[in-house]
Each structure stands twice: as structure tokens, then as C-alpha cells.
């Protein structure tokens, strides 16, 4: 066996080749010594049988080459020591030539058959061992909890079965293969690993082996995708892999791939669960906070109002104070609402309750909801006739529109109109809210949508700078864009887009 793979040498030869030949010679000589005294009692034919038995035994024990040697030696020894004239190669009777020929042929065929059987037995033994080893490997891999354990098990297996050293590489965030653990100093050629991972085919490198690099790169192919690369460095070089050991390595690679994939999904499931728990905790904290803050604010607004109901009526100054209390508490409530909204929107993925609906409706609802806050401003709504149904979360888009309208009403001079327009282009609908206020400063326009940033920092108007940040978070969650701009004739203009989709069909009535 010259293959570097020790797989088929699991039952290593008891003797080297030279020892084998020596033993063969000894066996044949021994047979001669034993048979000589028997010459007086036995026929020559039976002595031939003794030599054939020797050849058979040698074939079974020492293999084909030794058996061939034994065949030839037996014929020679038989000729020299037993066939008259003894102690010479010459034969007295030409019939003995036939005996030699038959003897040699029988010996050779026996040797061939016996050695073949022996070979088959050894191969099936090796196969059985391999199957058992794979079975054990699969069982061990099925029980792994971490990638490191997978690596350890794979290393044990490859060291035992192939007398080679493995390394497992898994893709990082940028899909580049990275070595999982640096337990040993085996070097890998990253670009070869990359090729194996991207191509999904084994890659071999003959010239790298001398430098201590791994020579074979097998992709870890699982059901969903290539999960990484198994790099193997063989001790002897260049590796001469038989078909058997290549297929064994491929089976090994796919077993590792399945284990790695399973661990990946375990990780995903755990991460999802943690995320769900976090989400639940966060929303319960937020709603508890929201309830606890809103309850006293509700009481404050209502109690301030109720001072107007006191009989007999309170003096005018007291009522003014009550009105101021009402307004301040209302502002505080708005602020708390904004902060909670921002916390909710910032806290992670926004959960949208998307439904297909006309934009017109939510614009009308926003104007209606703001009511008194828009006092002194006529709101003009100019919608293109061809607006499609859009899929959005009505409550959140209403928040956006309310914030924009409220801002417009706050900064624009009393009596000036606020205009809301909407028009569709190829893949989005653009909504604009325009006013006749001072507009937005040229620089820092993008900053307007950051938290706690206000157009004019020392503005006397009340506000926190959360409104536009909330708008941006909501529009972003819908996959749209929001920008601040100034109208040509002065005044601010905020535009946001909502992506078009494929709206559901509303069947016309039959009539």
C-alpha cells in the first residue's frame, strides 16, 4: 500500500516485504526438510501436495508476491531434492516436466485466488470500519451545541482516518471565509477557500503543500446554502487520494455542513426568541409608562376645565389661570405623546398595520383631528385625480400629516393658507405640505429631521424638535423619503413620498 491514506492500512502488515520473502524461503525450505525423510514412504505426487499446501498458506498469510515466489521456489526445490536424479535440475523422465508445469500453474492460481480473497476480506473490513466511523461521527455531530465542538469532532475524525489535519472556515458578515478556531498553526489559502465556498466545488492545490498550507478545500454544502469550507492538510505530499477516500471526505464535509446549518438555525431561533421577549418587555414598559403619565395629565386637563363649571363663576383672572393650566397640561400631554412615539419608533422595527386606502381619507381625517389647532389657516387640499390606492398604516401617516400641518400652522402668519398637494409619479406618490411661514434655513436642512433639532434654535414658539424626527421615522418605515424645502415665493414646504404597489382590485358593481 503506497497511498498516504492510512485507511486501508488499518490492519497493518505484520511483516515488511523483505521479511515476507524471507519467511517464504524459510517455509519452502522447511517443507523440503520435512518432506525429505518421507520420500521413502510417500509418492512424489503427495509430496507435490505438501508444496501446494505451503503455497496456499503463504498466499493467505503473506500475499500475492510472496505466493508467486513460493510457487517458483516450490517447483525448483521439488525438482532438485525429490525428482530423480536428485540434487540436480535435470530430470530423468520427461513426464516430470508436465508435473512441474501443472504444479506451477496450480500454485500460481492458488496464490492468485487466495491473495484475492484476502484482499477482498481486508477491503470489506475497511469498509465496515469506515461505515462505523461515519456513523459514530454523525452521532457525535448530532449532539453538538457549538461550532467549536463540531471542529473538535471533525479534527479527531480526520486525524484518525486520514492522518491529516483539518480546519473549518465559516463565512463572516461580508461572506468571507474565516477560520473558526486557531487551535493549531495550519495555514490556509483564503482565496482558495473563497473559491470553494462560492463555487460549491472542491478545490485542490498541489504546490502549496510544501509551505505548510492546506492542500484540499471542500465546500460545506447544506440544504440552504454553502455553510463554509473544510480545509485539509495531508502530512505526506502530494496527496494521492483514492476515489474511496475522496468520497469519504465529501461525506464528512456534508455531515459537518448539516451540523453547522443546524447550529445556525438554533442560533436564529434563540435570537428570535430573545428579540420577541425584548419586544414584549419594551412594549409593556412603554404602555405602562404611557398609562402612568397620561392618567395624571388627563386629570389635570379635565380639572382645569372644571374650574369653569364652578358656581358661582370664578373671577376672570382665576379663569384665565385655569385656561393657562389647561393649555400647559395639554402641551405636556402632546410632548409625552411625542416622546413615547419616538421611543416606540426608535426602539426597533416599527410594526406597521398596513392597509390599502385612498390618501384623501387620511388627509381629511388629519385636518379634522387638528380642529382648533388650525384656526386662522384655511387648508387647501389639491390632489391629483389619478392617485392610486396606497398601502400604509393610517394611524401613523395621520401622525405625519398632523405634525406637518401643526408645524405649518405654528410658524406661518395667521390668515395665510396651508396647501396640501399629492401627485403620483412612476413608482411613488409625493405628498407636500406648504405654508407661508419663514421657511427653512438653507443650511442644516437634513438636520431638521434629527431628534431635538429645531429650525431656529432660539425660536419663541413652543416645541421640542421631535415632530419632524417622528415623521421621518414613520416615512422611513414605509419605505418613503422626506425632505424639507422652501417654496419659490417663500414659505416652507415638506415633501414625503409613499411607494406605490400593486393595489388590490375593487370589483365594480354589476349595475
Amino acid at each position: 500500500m503506497e497511498s498516504p491514506t492510512s485507511l486501508l492500512e488499518d490492519s497493518p502488515e505484520k511483516f515488511t516485504r523483505a521479511q515476507g520473502f524471507l519467511l517464504t524461503v524459510v517455509a519452502c525450505a522447511g517443507t523440503t526438510v520435512v518432506a525429505t525423510p518421507l520420500l521413502d514412504y510417500l509418492d512424489l505426487a503427495n509430496i507435490v501436495m505438501l508444496f501446494l499446501l505451503t503455497v496456499l498458506l503463504v498466499a493467505v498469510r503473506l500475499g500475492r508476491n510472496a505466493a508467486i515466489l513460493a510457487s517458483v521456489l516450490s517447483v525448483l526445490l521439488f525438482d532438485i531434492f525429490f525428482v530423480p536424479p536428485r540434487f540436480s535440475l535435470a530430470v530423468s523422465n520427461i513426464q516430470y516436466v508436465v508435473t512441474f508445469a501443472v504444479m506451477l500453474a496450480t500454485a500460481l492460481i492458488t496464490a492468485h485466488l487466495a491473495a484475492g480473497l484476502r484482499q477482498q476480506a481486508r477491503e470489506s473490513l475497511a469498509r465496515e470500519q469506515r461505515t462505523r466511523a461515519l456513523y459514530q461521527l454523525a452521532r457525535q455531530l448530532a449532539g453538538t451545541l457549538t461550532v467549536e465542538q463540531v471542529v473538535d469532532i471533525a479534527r479527531d475524525f480526520i486525524e484518525k482516518q486520514f492522518n491529516a489535519r483539518p480546519l473549518i472556515l465559516l463565512p463572516d458578515e461580508e461572506e468571507r471565509p474565516r477560520v473558526v478556531s486557531h487551535a493549531d498553526s495550519l495555514m490556509v489559502e483564503t482565496h482558495l477557500a473563497q473559491i470553494a465556498m462560492e463555487g460549491g466545488q472542491p478545490v485542490r492545490s498541489e504546490d502549496a503543500s510544501g509551505l505548510g498550507y492546506a492542500q484540499l478545500y471542500l465546500p460545506l454544502r447544506a440544504s440552504m446554502r454553502v455553510r463554509g469550507v473544510l480545509a485539509v492538510k495531508f502530512v505526506s505530499s502530494p496527496p494521492d487520494l483514492t476515489a474511496d477516500s475522496t468520497s469519504l471526505l465529501e461525506i464528512l464535509a456534508s455531515l459537518i455542513a448539516v451540523a453547522v446549518e443546524r447550529l445556525h438555525y438554533v442560533e436564529v431561533a434563540q435570537a428570535t426568541e430573545v428579540k420577541m421577549l425584548t419586544e414584549r418587555l419594551r412594549s409593556s414598559i412603554l404602555s405602562a409608562l404611557s398609562h402612568d403619565l397620561r392618567t395624571p395629565l388627563t386629570a389635570m386637563v379635565g380639572l382645569a376645565d372644571s374650574l369653569f363649571l364652578v358656581k358661582p363663576a370664578l373671577p376672570a383672572t382665576a379663569l384665565e389661570t385655569a385656561q393657562a393650566l389647561h393649555d400647559q397640561a395639554g402641551r405636556l400631554a402632546g410632548l409625552v405623546g411625542n416622546l413615547l412615539d419616538m421611543a416606540r419608533l426608535n426602539a426597533g422595527e416599527v410594526i406597521l398595520r398596513r392597509e390599502w386606502q385612498p390618501l384623501e381619507e387620511v388627509i381629511g381625517a388629519s385636518i379634522n383631528l387638528l380642529g382648533n389647532a388650525l384656526e386662522g389657516h384655511a387648508v387647501k387640499v389639491q390632489l391629483a385625480a389619478d392617485l392610486p390606492l396606497l398601502e400604509f398604516d393610517a394611524v401613523l401617516i395621520e401622525r405625519v400629516l398632523c405634525n406637518l400641518l401643526e408645524n405649518a400652522a405654528k410658524y406661518a402668519p395667521k390668515g395665510s393658507p396651508i396647501v396640501v398637494t399629492a401627485k403620483a409619479d412612476a413608482d411613488a406618490v409625493e405628498v407636500a405640505v406648504m405654508d407661508h411661514g419663514p421657511g427653512f434655513p438653507e443650511q442644516r436642512r437634513d438636520d431638521l429631521f434629527k431628534m431635538f433639532v429645531r429650525g431656529e434654535s432660539e425660536s419663541s414658539k413652543p416645541g421640542t424638535g421631535l415632530g419632524l424626527a417622528i415623521c421621518k421615522a414613520i416615512v422611513d418605515a414605509h419605505g418613503g423619503q422626506i425632505t424639507a424645502d422652501n417654496r419659490l415665493d417663500g414659505g416652507g414646504c415638506i415633501r414625503f413620498t409613499l411607494p406605490k404597489g400593486i393595489p388590490p382590485v375593487v370589483e365594480e358593481e354589476s349595475r
Binding site: 404602555s287 404611557s290 398609562h291 397620561r294 392618567t295 395624571p296 395629565l297 388627563t298 386629570a299 389635570m300 386637563v301 379635565g302 380639572l303 376645565d305 372644571s306 369653569f308 363649571l309 389647561h326 397640561a329 395639554g330 400631554a333 405623546g337 413615547l340 416606540r344 398595520r353 392597509e355 390599502w356 386606502q357 385612498p358 384623501e360 381619507e361 387620511v362 388627509i363 381629511g364 381625517a365 385636518i367 379634522n368 383631528l369 387648508v379 387640499v381 390632489l383 390606492l389 393610517a394 394611524v395 395621520e398 393595489p503 388590490p504 375593487v506 358593481e509 349595475r511
Partner: protein
């Protein structure tokens, strides 16, 4: 005003909120009873037979929605819900369970009084024979003859538009949830197809509102449903 003062039951666990709600309702000339818990609220609703229940959804001993379900088993007294803004689902569940209207916290006394007045008016009217003639804005609807006119001009409505209109008109001031309207007009298999409802409400506004983009009568309660305001 009614000869006999209307009885109003307030179920709310927060004392200060109860206090000003009571003042506001008394200002409407009503007799007020208070309950702090769901259990007490149900008992009082049974024994005092109020004409209106004002109910906070977050009660210490249970969900206000369960109270409405219990109540609806034996009474059709109007129910006004007090709830926080971010609880659209709670509002919808409460309305589907049989509540009539809701107020979002914080609310002003003025809003509260307006809602109370509207609900009590509807209550007192429910005994009268319903007139087949309904008028709002410049629109007149004759339910007996299925004729709709706007500023004297006849308006043609499709079958579904008319059915939607009459459903909304039947409960003026009451918030009707999307689910409710879809089931009533299109049938149970359309409950998830909210865009039908939205498109048809749009049609009604186009045909009957002066400014369809800023409706005065067919109002949207965003995320919840619709309300007809005469």
C-alpha cells in the same frame, strides 16, 4: 331637557378623573353614580339602570371590554369609552363588543359634554317613531322611497352605496368599526377587504359632501372606522 334627570354611571378607577367627569356630566343636568371597579360597575349598571355608562377601559380588576360584553347581554344602554391614544385595537374591540363612542385621553370637558349630550339625545329619541326623512347639510334622504337629493337635485347611488349610506344614517354619531361595516354590507367573507369600504366611503363623499377632501358628515376615525355626523 328631560323632565326626569338622566342617570349616568361613571366606571373609572382614578379618583381625580372621576371627579371632573362627574362635574361635567352634572353640568348637563344628569344624576351621577360612580363605580371604581368592573365588578361594582356591573352591579350598579344592573341596579341603577343608568341611561348612559362612561367606562374607562383600564380597570384594576379586569378589562372594560368584558364589562361591555356582559352588559350587552341584558341592556342596550349607550356606553362611552375613555381610552389612551395608542390603543386602537382596544377601541375596536370595545366598539365591536357594543360600545357606542370613545374619547381619547386626555380630553377636554367640552368634548366630554358634547359626547354625553349626543348619546343621551339618541337614547331619548330611540322611543319615538323614526322618521323616514333624514337631512344633513344640503342632502335629504327619504329612506321609505330610497330617494337621495342634494340641493334639490336627485343623486344616483349604486346599491352598495345606498346600503352603506343607510347603515351609517341608522346610527348617527356612533362609531362603526370597519369590521362591523364590512360584515353588514359585503358579508363575512369581506372582513379583511377594508379597501372596499374605503373606496365606497370615498364615493359617498364625492357624491354627498361639499368638500370630499374635508368631509363634514362622513367622518373617518383613523384606524378604527367611520362615524356619520348629521
Amino acid at each position: 331637557m328631560n323632565a326626569v334627570a338622566a342617570k349616568v354611571l361613571i366606571v373609572e378607577d382614578e379618583k381625580q378623573i372621576r371627579r371632573f367627569v362627574r362635574m361635567a356630566v352634572e353640568e348637563e343636568g344628569c344624576q351621577v353614580a360612580e363605580a371604581e371597579t368592573m365588578t361594582q360597575g356591573l352591579i350598579d349598571a344592573g341596579s341603577r339602570k343608568p341611561d348612559l355608562v362612561i367606562l374607562d377601559l383600564g380597570l384594576p380588576d379586569g378589562n372594560g371590554i368584558d364589562l361591555i360584553r356582559d352588559l350587552r347581554g341584558w341592556s342596550d344602554v349607550p356606553v362611552l369609552i375613555l381610552s389612551a391614544r395608542s390603543q386602537e385595537n382596544d377601541k375596536i374591540d370595545a366598539l365591536d363588543a357594543g360600545a357606542d363612542d370613545y374619547l381619547t385621553k386626555p380630553f377636554s370637558v367640552g368634548e366630554l359634554r358634547a359626547r354625553v349630550r349626543a348619546l343621551l339625545r339618541r337614547r331619548s329619541r330611540s322611543g319615538e317613531t323614526v322618521s323616514p326623512l333624514v337631512e344633513f347639510g344640503r342632502v335629504a334622504v327619504d329612506l321609505s322611497r330610497r330617494v337621495v337629493t342634494r340641493a334639490g337635485e336627485p343623486v344616483h347611488l349604486t346599491q352598495i352605496e345606498y346600503r352603506l349610506l343607510s347603515t351609517l344614517l341608522a346610527q348617527p354619531g356612533k362609531v362603526l368599526t370597519q369590521r362591523n361595516l364590512l360584515r353588514e354590507i359585503w358579508g363575512p367573507s369581506y372582513i379583511e377587504s377594508s379597501h372596499y369600504l374605503r373606496v365606497y366611503v370615498g364615493h359617498l363623499r364625492q357624491k354627498l359632501e361639499d368638500d370630499p377632501t374635508q368631509p363634514k358628515h362622513f367622518l373617518t376615525e383613523t384606524g378604527v372606522g367611520y362615524r356619520f355626523q348629521p
